[in-house]
Amino acid sequence: MTKTLISGNKAIAQAAFDAGCDCYFSYPITPQTAIGEYLSEIMPKAGRGYVCAESEIASINMVIGAAATGAKAMTSSSSCAISLMQEGLAYAVGDELPLVLISVMRAGPGLGYIYPSQCDYDQAVTGGGNGDYRILVLAPSTVQECVDLTHKAFYLSQKYRNPVIVLSDGLLGQMMEPAEFVKYPYPEIDNSNWALTGAKGRTPRKIRSLEINEEKHNQNIQHLFDKYAQMEKAEVLYEEHNVEDADIILVAFGTMGRNIKAAMNLGRKYGIKIGTFRPVTLFPFPNKRLSELADRTKKFIVAEMNMGQMIKDVQIAINGKAQVKHIGRPAGAWLDETEILDEAKIMLGEEYAASV
């Protein structure tokens, strides 16, 4: 199959289209506007729904409306504007509606700036909406993965009737790489037993999160958490390299996953036994695998373009079995392989460095 040199943003847009996205609604914000621009060209031509909404509050709610009818619906946005969507996300979870949200991180807090950053890990993974809930989060590190994980996001959202976030960043959004646009590889999920289509020949349906009966409310929330347990069993994804003999494992998500690999390659050249671990699903988080790795390897570095967000999940997974250190900065120039390697050397100690 031929490859196309394309940006991460446009790759996501095309992949969503290929996944059968019926409706896309959004409001422009850098660095993800190219997604909306791309879809504004092809969605209306294909007879699919497209609205440049008046706000992100409106766009997420339009997505909920479309999703409630059983349509595959998506929006995309960034940082401060995703803050505006938190209420909608909580409703979508409570209403058990499948939707896909593409989050292309910029630097925050507040308006922040368009420097690339990974400062919205917490926003995506732990969320800012109300209530007990989880959202599936997939973090691509290459343009090809933007394609593959966007497909997966549509599938998982339908499978679990839950929102899915694809967590990208300004670097990945703008960078161009060769990508292959494979056919949507997942089966279509039947939603005819819950979608709102008008009550023709059947009992009317009410999609709502409100439950006045306390016992029933608790059952509903338990049902959500049964789904999350199922996701933790079936959907965890990660990428690891050279962990078998590693004296230190570098952990990173998204685009930073590439730089820890570069640091590993460089370190291995000098005989330093470095491994890498990249969670691809940030929820469900690969707790089990990290815990296994910590049985053997006793030093971990978490490299993130933020001041320490994913490290908390790594610490929970490792549960005190190994030393965990964070390196990062808020935004801008990505942590370089030499910087990461230097930190690894420090953590391993001078004796180690002298021995290799």
Binding site: K3, L5, Y113, I114, Y115, P116, G170, L171, Q174, M175, M176, E177, P178, T255, R258, N259, K261, A262, A263, N265, G332, A333, W334, D336, E337, T338
Partner: protein, 180 residues
């Protein structure tokens, strides 16, 4: 084997499109490649740059501290990015706009009248192609055939002929530094 290239200049010099054409040519040669434009304050004042990393296995890190090759199309870029060039790296500089100077001794300089050459052939806007012509003589990951093919993929038909011509002129300019 991995190589990184920075192309820098100001808006209108075709910095980004030269990078995209080059990246496409790498892709046509079955290489792994990443192209990205630079952000932030660097975008202000009309300064534009992009970075291309090419590898025959996998492009890992991005936003690199150092680069193997710098194509500087104006003085500002020359001064700004010279320090990023690796020891032993190459600087292709636009002598039309940059006064010949050699502040570092550990890099190789190729000064050519890039803008003048493009102007003489029909459009100063095609300066970017002169620089790619020069680059094709020194970079092992690409060749003239795939750059021309990439031009077909990226540029509109009506300006392709001019760009081929300017590209050829760039190759001639720097024949003396041709790769082995």
């Amino acid at each position: 084997m991995e190589q990184s290239i920075i192309i820098a200049g100001f808006g209108g010099q075709g910095v980004l499109s030269a990078g995209i054409i080059l990246a496409n040519s790498f892709m046509l040669n079955d290489k792994q490649v990443t192209w990205y434009p630079c952000y932030g304050a660097e975008m202000r004042g009309g300064a534009v740059n992009c970075e291309i990393v090419v590898s025959d296995t996998e492009v890992t890190s991005v936003h690199k501290k150092e680069t193997d090759i710098l194509i500087a199309l104006n003085d500002l870029s020359f001064n700004k990015f010279l320090s990023k060039v690796k020891s032993g790296g190459i600087v292709i500089a636009n002598a039309t706009l940059i006064e010949k100077k050699y502040p570092r001794e550990d890099v190789k300089y190729i000064f050519e009248n890039i803008s003048d050459t493009a102007r003489e052939l029909g459009s100063i806007k095609a300066a970017n192609m002169v620089s790619l012509g020069i680059l094709s003589n020194i970079c092992n990951f690409t060749d003239i055939k795939s750059i021309k093919q990439a031009i077909d993929m990226v540029l509109p038909q009506k300006i392709r002929e001019l760009n081929y011509k300017v590209l050829d002129a760039g190759i001639k300019l720097s024949e003396s530094c041709r790769k082995e």
